[in-house]
Symmetry: C2
Subunit: 362 residues, 2 copies
């Protein structure tokens, strides 16, 4: 068995409660497969702001102690951050998501973001698209460049003018692109690069690098699609996509659009891969409205844990076992409220019930 | 009655055939309401490239004669441009859309783009979304800034690096924003500004200007939404939106996503408003695969003509009459192939049949 240290950044809202279930599941995996996982909690987001403020430190959404804890770990398991909609202007919540997430991405060079979007056939009634559109099924992975592009370029205000600079280097593109081809090889062998190459110079560079990297993967098909068209196809013909490779902003937009298809963000894990140290987080937000009610869906967080087993610890068998256990639970009809029509929501199962069911199914 | 000169830029693919029907309809409007519309044809896109080349001139997608013709007109009616997918690298088609469209937008300062997206209840079976999602109906207008932002900022390549600059001024934002509030006043009185203000300085400027312009429209509700979330809501809860105001790139993406909802691009008109001179064009492309077959849907082009009557000539009654006539024809079940399920496509009505039916319905 392996020994691994996991930095747990549960964060705000539903973060802590879905994290508890995930840690339960991972501990069970450790037991069953003879691994030694150590979990250490660190504050992030509004929770970190409150804690640092209470301790008389400069308040921060991403304190030095948290960064040091991550640094000392083998992987980062992240929950969610952010406060209620009507409190966004309070210092505790202002820029909270941005500070925490962009800070972590930058510090640990989390350059490759991986977001699978899959419609489970037995949950396809939750997909907002008609069955005729879902067609043969939706099963795509979006690879988003995560530390470049317009989100990390210069942002400037000069009197009545504002500027934001989109910037890409060959090296910065090669990393996600190579990952995309590797991923495609294990899947349906198709990479679609999404860009706006008819207008943007950065997109032209993406295409150049894509063609260059493609040479090493002649068994994988490569095609290109404009972002405006891609957003149409996600709604119109989502089964078209296998692996999508795209820049930071287009990936942000497209992966959020695609995340709607499975019917709930509560099903959507993600991985952000750095040089050695990686971070795992559900795609949904902190959902303050249902926080503390034992009502949130922990599946996205648990599946993020499975991705950690796979990508940080190379424990493929264990990762698949967790994924299979989640599927078994969902298939059995044990569902949280987000996966039920309004009229059936009284039958909703709690966060901890789901966690325990997954443990049992392992 | 009024006398108006209309520059007709039919372009490529299905452009000419849908334009013929639109001119028929507009001539009939002239007859019925006592107006004098003069139509003059000018080349644009691949057609212009071929014509200028044949004439021994420097080939161009947007020749000087076309620009001069537009300049001398009261409104521009645009068809569509662009060649077959497999010929994009040939000089006739390379950068064709970009050169023609961005060229016209820049030259005539077409700063405000208007794209309505409406699901006709009697065609809602064509919407890719489930009836439960369409809910009370989809009826939104996207106001897209069209001559600024990252599409018109600096594009630069330096060795291994590429740059594109997003740039906005207060003045450049005020124009579409004011238009959005005016439009909202005639509708459900809600403006949603779509941006990425948690990351981009330009978006923060958009919010400032929105709040400032809002002061003149206290009867209209203003809210803000991040582009990633907006792309989710278009799929998940499209009835939420009334008027959307957004920048060039986000508008490009969001309006294309929204254009899928009515079930066919063949239903989607648009207007691009400049200082005095405006341009009208269907949202769909040149569809070379069905060009010349009398099979394309002319409704989007005809409805673009209706927008011209409204926004360029202030002929509201006539515009409404054309819109009503189109709806009557659609409702009667006379439908082109794009509006029919595959199994019923043998019953498809031709382009010219639709044009004549609209003329008759007037
Ligand atoms: C909080 C924000 C900066 C972030 C982003 O856009 O990158 C978030 O939307 C995401 O996608 O993880
Ligand atoms: C051709 C292209 C430059 C253009 C744009 O993105 O502006 C088109 O997609 C559009 O939306 O009219």
């Amino acid at each position: 068995g392996v020994s691994k240290n996991i930095a747990v950044l549960a964060g705000d809202g539903i973060g802590p409660e879905v994290m508890v279930e995930t840690v339960k599941v991972l501990k069970k995996v450790g037991e069953l497969y003879g691994h030694n996982f150590t979990f250490k909690d660190y504050k992030v987001g509004g929770a970190a702001w409150a804690a640092t403020e209470a301790a008389g430190e400069t308040p921060s959404h991403l304190p030095a102690a948290t960064l040091a804890g991550c640094e000392a770990s083998d992987a980062i398991l992240f929950g969610s951050v952010g406060g209620p909609v009507d409190q966004q202007h309070e210092p505790q919540w202002k820029d909270c998501e941005k500070n925490a997430l962009l800070g972590l991405r930058k510090r640990f060079k989390l350059a490759v973001n991986l977001r699978p979007s899959k419609v489970y056939p037995f949950l396809s009634h939750l997909c907002p698209l008609k069955p005729s559109i879902i067609g043969t099924g939706v099963d795509m992975v979006i690879i988003r460049e995560l530390v470049g592009g317009i989100y990390f370029g210069e942002h400037k205000r000069e009197g009545d003018k504002a500027f934001d600079v989109m910037e890409y280097t060959v090296e910065g593109i090669r990393k996600p692109m190579t990952f995309a081809f590797e991923a495609a090889r294990l899947r349906r062998k198709k990479v679609t690069v999404v860009d706006k190459a008819n207008v943007l110079e950065c997109s032209r560079l993406w295409r150049e690098v894509a063609r260059e990297v493609h040479k090493g993967y002649p068994d994988v098909e490569l095609d290109f699609m404009y972002i405006d068209n891609a957003c149409m196809q996600v709604i119109q013909k989502p089964s078209f996509f296998d692996v999508v490779a795209t820049g930071n902003m287009f990936g942000d937009i497209l992966s959020d659009a695609a995340s709607v298809l499975p019917g709930s963000l509560g099903l959507m894990p993600s991985a952000s891969l750095g040089d050695g140290l990686h971070m795992y987080e559900p795609s949904g937000g902190s959902a303050p409205d249902i926080a503390g009610k034992n009502a949130a869906n922990p599946i996205a967080q648990i599946l993020s844990g499975a991705m950690m087993l796979r990508y940080s610890f190379q424990l493929e068998k264990e990762a698949s076992a967790v994924e299979a256990a989640c599927e078994t639970v969902l298939r059995s009809g044990k569902l949280t409220g987000d996966l039920l029509e309004e009229s059936e929501r009284k039958n909703a199962v709690s966060t901890s019930d789901i966690g325990e069911a997954v443990v049992k199914a392992l």
